[in-house]
């Protein structure tokens, strides 16, 4: 049982972190805090992928050619480079989407003078009522 827990510890914690991020996104009314929750969620997904790519006693996937003492690159155990590549792309795209989200938040602040979701919804409701009555 402890063996199982230790060997899957990373995955369980990643799920826990994901759920904390999801909880912040759903429960928080503040738009900036929502974005932070989204980036927490994102980072935990990155962690999940990188954990999958790890090999015990492996090393970073940078080929070492020693040659003269007979060691070829096949004798060294490297961790899986493929998840690393995927996550490199995802990190940069994640920041781009965060920037887009922040721009939207600034725009919302300019129009509604608030970044709290309930205030914004109420303002929208009042706007709709006013346009109906006029």
């Amino acid at each position: 049982m402890t063996d199982f827990l230790l060997s899957h510890w990373n995955y369980f914690i990643v799920v826990l972190l994901m759920m904390i991020g999801l909880f912040i996104v759903i429960s928080s009314m503040n738009l900036v805090k929502k974005l932070i929750g989204l980036s927490l969620f994102q980072t935990s997904v990155f962690l999940f992928y990188i954990s999958l790519g790890k090999i015990n006693d492996g090393t970073a996937p940078i080929i070492m050619k020693s040659g003269h003492d007979g060691h070829s690159s096949h004798d060294i155990l490297y961790s899986n480079p493929l998840p690393h590549v995927l996550i490199l792309t995802a990190i940069v795209v994640g920041v781009a989407t965060t920037a887009l989200g922040l721009a939207l938040v600034l725009r919302i602040k300019a129009s509604f003078n608030s970044i709290e979701e309930d205030d914004i919804l109420q303002a929208k409701r009042e706007l709709r009522k006013r346009s109906k009555s006029s």
Partner: protein, 195 residues
């Protein structure tokens, strides 16, 4: 064994920070804590042999996105409004989703298992032949720029579109209370991002 120990302590630290973010209401503190969270995850990535990912995360995740948030905070209120929202529904959703994911995750191969199915398909080929074909020692670079160059091209297009979107949102139709200096400054940030 030491890898596992470092893993467990770093990851527990991340959980503590995430919980602190959940219960904090001051946005500046939240932003700095999320920067710390990214930095610890970068340390985690070094420990998991993903050095390229680690320095990208440290530079872009912990550095640049924190700066972006702080720049945006110049025009936003610093405190989150306290309100009596119903937390029971989000809690139930998170618990149900979390337990489903935990159930699924329990069936994954053990952490660090070299016979895991992830390591069987294309990665061995990349590791075996990339140096002889392209003479770049770093396999991650080779895969990113050569084997999966089109993915990287797509990534650049996504970032370009995002930068364009930010510029259009901030510089286009401005609202009544909108301050023109706001859009220009943040837009300049985005220009840097694009490059």
């Amino acid at each position: 064994m030491s890898t596992l120990f470092i893993n467990i302590s770093l990851v527990s630290f991340m959980v503590v920070i995430a919980l602190m973010i959940t219960f904090s209401h001051r946005l500046f503190a939240i932003i700095i804590m999320s920067g710390a969270y990214s930095l610890i995850s970068a340390a985690m990535f070094v420990n998991l042999d993903a050095v390229d990912v680690a320095f990208t995360e440290a530079a872009v995740g912990a550095g640049f996105s924190t700066v972006l948030f702080l720049a945006a905070m110049a025009w936003l209120p610093a405190e989150e409004k306290r309100h009596k929202a119903l937390l029971i529904l989000p809690l139930i959703i998170c618990l149900v989703t979390g337990s489903l994911l935990m159930w699924a995750v329990a069936y994954l191969p053990a952490f660090g298992d070299p016979t895991s199915i992830v390591h069987q398909h294309v990665a061995p080929r990349y590791l075996a032949e990339s140096y002889d074909k392209l003479h770049i020692p770093n396999v991650v670079t080779t895969v990113l720029a050569s084997y999966r160059g089109f993915d990287t091209l797509g990534e650049t297009i996504v970032i370009f579109t995002a930068g364009l979107g930010v510029l259009l949102i901030l510089m286009g139709k401005t609202g009544r209370t909108h301050n023109p200096t706001t859009s220009n400054d943040t837009a300049r940030d985005e220009d840097v991002n694009e490059k």
